[in-house]
Amino acid sequence: MKKFLKLYSTEVVFAFVSLLFIILTGTEILRPMNITAIFLQNSYIFILATGMAICMTSKENIDISIGSFVCFICAMGGVFMAVTKLSTPVSIILLFILGILWGLLSGYLIAYLKIPAWVTTLSGYLAFRGLGVALINTFSSTGSIVGINESFLKLFSGKIFASNIDSFGPGSLMFCLILAILGILYKFYSLRKEGSRINRSVMIGCILAFIVMSLIGVSFGLTGGVPVSFVWMFIVVAITAIWIERSAEGRRLIMLGANPENARIAGVNVRKAMLMTYVFMAVCATLTGCIVLARFHASSSYAGVNFEMDTIAACAVGGVSLYGGKQKIFKAILGAALIGIINLGLSLIGVDMNWQWIIKGIIIVISVSFDMYLKKDRYE
């Protein structure tokens, strides 16, 4: 029993909190439109938590600049597309160049100059919020820049396999089932490469994944299509998981996470690996910025507020900082889904905003304490 809980503590917390909100909302949270909302409204947490899970691999690494950086990217996107009238592809390329530059700068300061991560990224947190708001105020007198390219909006927001909301769109279900099957095949393939057997718990996991994905597909089909942000989220998670498990760099990161000293002795360039994680985090934040810009249809100074907090919370309940293994990405995703369910559930119940924060705080501290309690012997 304890062994099971220890292995699957995040899953247990997830199931418990989900059940709690299913009861509290009177199963309302399970309506197709609300299942869709979990992904539509919280795609930013999923993408950022993936980046953050990589970033937080090794001790004392964290990036709290991401929310402000999202605001900055939104502002720059507005400047590129609405003010200077650049084309969509050029704007996107420029935005990602900005993202990579910030990743290199912060990563260099942290990994090479040994400036503590929270100091460096706190500076980013302050500076990018200021910069973003200043940019928007410079180019607009109304607090937002409007006139974002239509093709940009199509690429980062809206639905694919769009169907009428009054009927069922089979395309969405097919799409999700294909994703599920690809995911399961990849899992089998990687197990085979490692020479492990496909045991019962793997089978159960695969069946569950398949059921979950088909339910998500049905929900999307009933609510007018697959949200584009869900597709981006899936791409980020898939690429990250494959990159971490398959590439040499990814393996170095896992080693670094498990034990930095051993990694150094084994010849891993720790500083370079650390730099890479910040670049990756910044790229995730840039993508999030694009998605938020498209969701707002305008550059707003309100973009990205508290994103870093939801992301770190997702990683915390996902137990990211407690692991050094490769399950981390999955755990971070589960953590992100959990925060998404809490956000949606509290909104559906109609809890006052201030109480939403209080309840969120309590759920996070309980779930992390539960996790720590179970793993106590392992870490002492």
Binding site: A15, E28, Q41, L153, G158, V305, L348, G350, M353
Partner: protein, 355 residues
């Protein structure tokens, strides 16, 4: 063995939970119409009070009302509007945190064919807005101009009067309406020379006050007083609202020795109403929130019952995509003689507050 049982039972429970999602179909009683209200924050007193009053009024009429506050966060407001739609709202009343950024939530309202009423702040950058209820902002300015005209009887003035303007926030869509409303009434007298702007600052851009900020209005007034009114009187100071009027009256108190001018205002902020009673401000335009709530509730009724919706303006409010049919409520003015009666009889202030 025990472990396996546990796993299997967990699996079964999870599958059952997930499957029940499929059965989550429409749950509401089709006879009860749902009205969703999305407001920026309940920390802002005005929205807190007005949304609660609106909710009570709608509930009396038999609607189910859901109010959500976004704590001044646009992402949160977008999600909340989406969730209101998911709760099968039949009509949405939205006060945007930021006018142009409700993007995907408005797209979803269009997709679900849900009418959106923009309450007092016009939602821009989308064609999802069905109606707009607000006060007649042009009229606010006209009333200020008219007040000045009548107080000084400009048609039969035997002398010239000096006037200065202090306008509102260039970022606020309504500030231009206030300014133009006032200037349009006074234009003939400015042209004929009955009114003279000594500072020469005679356009909205020159008179604007960023963010309606009191200190900025005061700074500008002090500069004008120092440069132009050392040896002559300023007779009228047309301020677009109360926060800027407050800045002007503070500047006058510090750096002006001449005859006290007529100062206009808007909103009946408590401190300004006290100034009116003390003679430091001549008037303020009063926009009774009860009127706006009445108009909005009536509009909801008309939409739900399928009647034609009463609007009284179909050409003024362009939101960047379309002209939004609007219902404009009539503002009135209060001055020293009538302010206590008007403001206390509708419950806007109590007698004690004004003493």
């Amino acid at each position: 063995m025990k472990n396996r049982t546990l796993k299997t039972s967990c699996l079964i429970v999870m599958i059952m939970i997930l499957l029940s999602g499929l059965s989550g179909c429409k749950r509401k009683d089709p006879n009860v119409k749902v009205i969703g209200i999305s407001a920026p924050s309940n920390d802002i007193q005005r929205w807190a009070v007005e949304t609660v009053q609106m909710k009570e009024r709608l509930q009396e009429k038999g609607y189910e009302v859901i109010v959500q506050y976004a704590s001044s966060d646009i992402s949160m407001q977008i999600s909340q509007i989406e969730n209101l739609i998911a709760k099968d709202a039949d009509v949405l009343i939205v006060i945007p945190v930021e006018a142009a950024s409700l993007g995907e939530a408005m797209d979803m309202a269009i997709e679900h064919k849900i009418p959106v009423i923009s309450y007092d702040m016009l939602i821009t950058n989308t064609d999802a807005v069905s109606y707009y209820t607000t006060f007649d902002n042009y009229k606010v300015g006209s009333i200020q101009g008219q007040y000045v005209k009548e107080r000084l009887d400009l048609d039969r003035a035997g002398r010239t009067y000096n006037i200065e303007f202090t306008a509102g926030d260039p970022g606020d869509n309504n500030a231009g309406f206030f300014y133009n409303g006032a200037v349009d009434v006074l234009k003939p007298y400015l042209d004929s020379g009955v009114l003279r702007i000594q500072s020469g600052q005679d356009s909205f851009g020159k008179c604007a006050t960023p963010s309606w900020n009191t200190e900025k209005a005061q700074q500008r007034a002090e500069n004008i007083l120092a440069s132009y009114y050392n040896d002559q009187d300023v007779d009228i100071w047309l301020a677009s609202n109360d926060t800027t009027a407050l800045g002007v009256s503070s500047a006058l108190a510090i750096s002006y020795k001449g005859k006290y001018p007529i100062i206009t205002g808007q909103d009946c902020t408590l401190i300004n109403v006290r100034n009116i009673l003390d003679g430091k401000q001549a008037m303020s335009v009063f926009k009774d929130p009860a009127m706006l709530i009445d108009a909005t509730v009536k509009m909801v009724d008309e939409i739900i019952s399928g009647q034609p919706v009463t609007v009284n303006d179909t050409k003024t409010y362009f939101n960047g995509i379309k002209i939004v049919p609007s219902y404009l409520c009539e503002p009135i003015y209060v001055d020293k003689d009538n302010c206590i009666e008007i403001l206390t009889s509708c419950g806007f202030y109590t007698i004690d507050q004004l003493k």
